[in-house]
Subunit: 203 residues, 2 copies
Amino acid sequence: MGRTSDARQRLLDAALALIWERSYSGTSVDAICERAGVKKGSFYHFFSSKADLAAAAIEASHERRCAFMDDCFSPSVPPLERLRRYLGAAYEEQARLCRETGRVLGCPLFTLGAEICHEDERLRQVINGILDQHLAYFENAVRDAAAAGIVEAADPAARARGLFSMLEGALTQARIRNDPAFLKHLPDEALASLGADVAAAEG
Amino acid sequence: MGRTSDARQRLLDAALALIWERSYSGTSVDAICERAGVKKGSFYHFFSSKADLAAAAIEASHERRCAFMDDCFSPSVPPLERLRRYLGAAYEEQARLCRETGRVLGCPLFTLGAEICHEDERLRQVINGILDQHLAYFENAVRDAAAAGIVEAADPAARARGLFSMLEGALTQARIRNDPAFLKHLPDEALASLGADVAAAEG
């Protein structure tokens, strides 16, 4: 049983890594099996198709990401500090990936979503749902900042949407430029876009 | 000669449309030739490879876009109005594409760039260079707005980068959601992120 679940996990890890580094169309079931060290017969024991595996891989990655986001966006932390932590961590993560793989990878949801959204409706819906959940963390923080009078926002949800778009747009540009430094000043740029006087509000 | 140049143009148009609607890996030379109504032998008369055609198609599309951006970002227009025009036009364009094709397509530079950036260095560089040129329009407008005292920006280039990321992130989310309405309030959201009092400054 240990061995079986290990093979499934290796397939999830290999699929996420290959699709993120390359692309969905550019990643074959054979390549995933080879990287995972799993035979093709076993692949079809666990997953009915590449799309089925990709959806499971994205969902498994999202579960790990949620624990990290819960920590960054803890209500015990001042609201703008939550945003600063998460945006700073995005830079650190991409810089680490670049050191480890030689490549800035950006956001797997965005890269995969943009590629498959008009080809695979189920995968599109999975990604859409996860993007909505990520956005909810931003809304929560901006709403708390507005309630505390730290930022002026007539429509906190709209400001959060703009902020989340800024992060995702910057991550994808960092990927295309293959340069993690593109993200280095994102926390300052994003908080400036909220018109927040961080020094005064949170010392 | 008219017919020859027409075939080349049809290949450029077909490549851009198919890659934008689907993906680069998901678009074969056969499919491009079929959509263009051009024989495969003619394809290789004009282009050495799919990557060669994709680069030419992106560059041709950029030339048309530049004329449009020159108009939107004319120095004769107040700086924030330039941004509002261009961001409003982005929504109108995606809404039109959605009516015509049933699909929100987002930004072809972003979708193609994210897919191929680690696979095709020449295409990556072409896209990178064009993204830099688009960003320069935003920098120009934000710098003029700061010089006129309409927005406070210690670092106009950084604010422009944030704004451009916001646009590109929103375009890609609109693609993944397949919903042009996601972009409808982008002009207001983007100008709010500059802390601009548009009514007072330009109303």
